[in-house]
């Protein structure tokens, strides 16, 4: 806008000025150039105006044209253009507005004095000359104001920009050091540098950069800066700084050569690696710990990829297969361990690969007659994808042998209890036989003997029954192999024997047997289960009596057996412990605490389940489910 006004005024002066222009063509050319330049300017982006390199020539150009226009219009008859030119120069050069005003005032007075001395003020055109004096002053003020405003804005922008970059510089998480190219002297450092080195800024400025490195790394540091000088930039993470307290700090350092104006600088940016190194050390240590645990476990451990490739094995595996780590690695597990062409049956790894869930199974090796329990556990990534699976192989041969032994010894103990029960049971009829026989011997009247002999016979038959039952019981106890077992039959026989022991407890036994399939089981062991449960039931009802309900019923793929009593019940707090070995509430000598544990072991061995429900003073119900294994047709 300002320029437009200036153009119009200048053009007017040139065209209609007092002296008229001699060279009209020159005037027109000037006006056109001026106009065009202005039109061109409107297309310039605003940012260019704040560029001083562009702005000052523009102002100079404008001033020249306006002055020249004036010169042309007045044809040297006036000195006005010189004065105007002076004003512009003052305004441009001056940075201080007040000073400019003083200079403007003095100039105006000088000019006035000059005109007066020339006597121009008193002539007839004096008034027009007199007007020039305040005009000069106003013009000076006007131009001065424009220049001042522009420079102030410029300065403000610079300050903002400076603050912005200073903030970035100071608050950067990386340490930044600015070096003068010459002698690699430190010019500026940020706060992070102070933190990392322990020096304060004042101590670092003017120092040579090599003072920052410990003597033993000086060689390396010099090589590094040589490289920076050659390539313009370089990065290293093998150098360390010597802190003020003498401790070395490893840093990840990158240095770049930059040009700022005339001079070139090195900009060093570094990150303190102390924490990272600590973390790395921790990770390495924790890896070593894990490896030690891995190898220290005497059971076999291996990590397999989802395609069954062995990724890692522990020492136990190497020892077990008498091979080397290298021979196993990247092999498929079934190939390496078992010389198979596909995964083993019942392999828990297959289940884990499929379900991403832990799995376990018992695998028997016919080769060396061992039994292994194999556990597999998934290793997942953050998104829950399966990375690999840990396989844990536990040799349970010994454990199983001990378990068998335990069951066997409990069985023997059971037989012992039974034997004493049986002996007691036999003693009653035996007493009858002896007593009656003695009477018969003394009896003089032979007709009476018939009744005595009948009593003797009855007693003998009772004994015979007991012995028969005992024989079938012990026969079953001896059997080790699996055969088809009718659970109803076993329950019936067991009940008979247990009643002998717990004979006098007034218990009403209710049998609810449904027709059921035979299951494949070890008769002796099943009998042991029922013996223990029924004995417990009788004991629970000791003294108080009640009902014992034995029931069987077929389910879809299992057979359910329930032993239910109306006894004292099991306190809630003991319910989850009753199957634990040696857990007992009975007095010492009355129970071993193994009864229900044996029941649990035998049921689990038959792949069945056992549940207990109990309420104090109301009764207890044990529910066992044995799976039916139908031959696949």
């Amino acid at each position: 806008m300002l320029r437009w006004t200036a153009i119009i005024v200048t053009s007017y002066l040139m065209l209609f000025g007092k002296g008229r222009v001699m060279d009209l063509h020159l005037s027109y050319t000037l006006i056109i150039i001026y106009l065009l330049s202005n039109v061109l300017l409107t297309f310039f982006p605003k940012a260019w105006f704040s560029n001083l390199k562009l702005f000052y020539p523009l102002v100079l150009f404008d001033t020249a044209i306006v002055s020249f226009g004036m010169y042309l219009s007045e044809k040297m008859t006036t000195d006005f253009y010189i004065v105007f030119f002076l004003i512009i120069i003052f305004a441009s050069v001056s940075r201080n507005f007040k000073l400019l005003m003083v200079i403007g005032g003095i100039t105006a007075l000088l000019y006035g004095g000059l005109l007066y001395s020339w006597g121009l003020l008193t002539k007839e055109e004096g008034s027009s000359y007199t007007l020039r004096i305040p005009f000069i002053f106003i013009m000076t003020a006007f131009y001065g104001y424009i220049v001042q405003t522009l420079t102030r804005e410029k300065r403000q922008e610079l300050t903002i920009s400076e603050d912005k970059y200073r903030g970035l510089f100071e608050n950067a998480n990386e340490g930044i050091i600015l070096l003068r190219n010459h002698q690699l002297q430190i010019v500026d450092v940020n706060r992070e540098v102070e933190k990392a080195t322990g020096y304060i800024k004042g101590e670092l400025i003017q120092k040579e950069v090599f003072d920052l490195f410990p003597p033993e790394e000086m060689e390396k540091a010099r090589d590094y800066f040589k490289e920076v000088a050659e390539k313009g930039e370089a990065r290293t993470d093998s150098l360390s700084f010597k802190k003020k307290d003498g401790v070395s700090t490893e840093v990840d350092l990158s240095t770049k050569k930059i040009d700022l104006g005339e001079e070139s600088f090195y900009q060093m940016i570094f990150r303190d690696l102390t924490d990272q190194r600590k973390l790395e050390k921790k990770i390495r240590q924790s890896k070593r710990n894990l490896e030690a645990i891995f190898d220290g476990i005497r059971d076999q451990l291996s990590i397999q990829a989802p395609d069954y490739q062995i990724l890692r094995v522990n020492r136990a595996v190497i020892e077990r297969y008498q091979t080397t780590f290298e021979k196993l690695i990247n092999q498929k597990c079934y190939e390496a361990y078992f010389q198979r062409s596909q995964p083993c049956e019942k392999c828990p790894i297959s289940i884990t690969i499929e379900t991403k869930q832990p799995a376990t199974s018992i695998m028997k090796s016919s080769e060396n007659n061992t039994t292994m329990q194999v556990f597999s556990y998934p290793i997942l990534d953050e998104k829950g994808n399966l990375l690999s699976a840990i396989e844990y192989v536990k040799d349970i041969t010994e454990e199983q042998r001990l378990q068998e032994q335990l069951i066997q010894s409990e069985k023997l103990a059971g037989i012992g209890i039974l034997a004493s029960g049986v002996a007691h049971e036999i003693n009653n009829p035996l007493s009858g036989i002896i007593g009656m026989a003695e009477i018969a011997l003394e009896e003089e009247d032979p007709t009476k003997n018939e009744s005595y002999l009948r009593d003797i016979l009855n007693c003998a038959q009772r004994i015979s029954e007991i012995v028969k039952g005992l024989r079938s019981y012990s026969r079953a106890a001896k059997k080790e192999e699996l055969c088809l077992v009718d659970l109803n039959e076993v329950l019936e026989e067991t009940l008979k024997m247990v009643r002998l022991v717990a004979q006098k407890t007034p218990v009403e036994v209710i049998k609810r047997f449904q027709p059921i399939e035979k299951i494949e089981a070890n008769t002796g062991e099943i009998q042991q289960v029922f013996t223990n449960l029924i004995t417990n039931a009788f004991q629970a009802m000791d003294g108080k009596g009640g009902e014992l309900v034995l029931s069987t019923r077929p389910l879809e793929d299992s057979i359910e057996v329930q032993v239910s009593d109306h006894g004292m019940g099991i306190p809630q707090k003991f319910l989850n412990r009753i199957f634990d070995p040696f857990f007992t509430t009975k007095k010492p000598g009355e129970g071993t605490g193994l009864g229900l544990n044996i029941v649990y072991r035998i049921v689990t061995k038959h792949e069945g389940t056992i549940d207990v429900e109990s309420r104090e003073q109301i009764g207890t119900t044990f529910t066992i489910k044995f799976p039916i294994r139908r031959a696949e047709s």
Partner: protein, 129 residues
């Protein structure tokens, strides 16, 4: 006056031959098939001797002994335990509870009579064997 003996046993055959033996020996014999009956009979009659089984329905021999020995009216009646429980612990328990003689089944007539005369403090002459 003949002496009165109460036989408590749930086995009928045992009661029977005891009765035959003891009646022949001149004793007055009463019988009870369980502990409850025994207590009832003891309350209604005076006995000189109690022969008691241990394992019986309703009320067992231990309880009978306890009640007999805690009642001032009956506590002086000698008690013979006659049981199939033949373990030492049971015998000690019996004596602890106040039983006067412990006899295990099976037994012979001679054994029985030895216990009897001991308990009734009878001289051998008084017993006709």
């Amino acid at each position: 006056m003949s002496r009165k003996i109460l036989i408590v046993d749930d086995e009928e055959v045992i009661r029977k031959f005891l009765r035959i033996h003891l009646t022949k020996l001149g004793y007055e014999v009463k019988e009870a098939a369980d502990g409850e009956q025994a207590i009832k009979q003891l309350g209604g009659d005076d006995f000189d001797l109690l022969i008691c089984d241990i394992l019986m329905p309703k009320k067992d021999g231990w309880e009978v002994i306890k009640e007999v020995k805690s009642d001032p009216k009956t506590k002086d009646i000698p008690v013979i335990v006659l049981t199939a429980k033949n373990e030492d612990t049971d015998m000690f328990r019996g004596y602890d509870m106040g039983a006067n003689y412990y006899m295990t089944k099976p037994f012979t007539k001679a054994q029985l009579l030895y216990g009897l005369k001991l308990m009734l403090k009878e001289t051998p002459e008084e017993i006709r064997v």
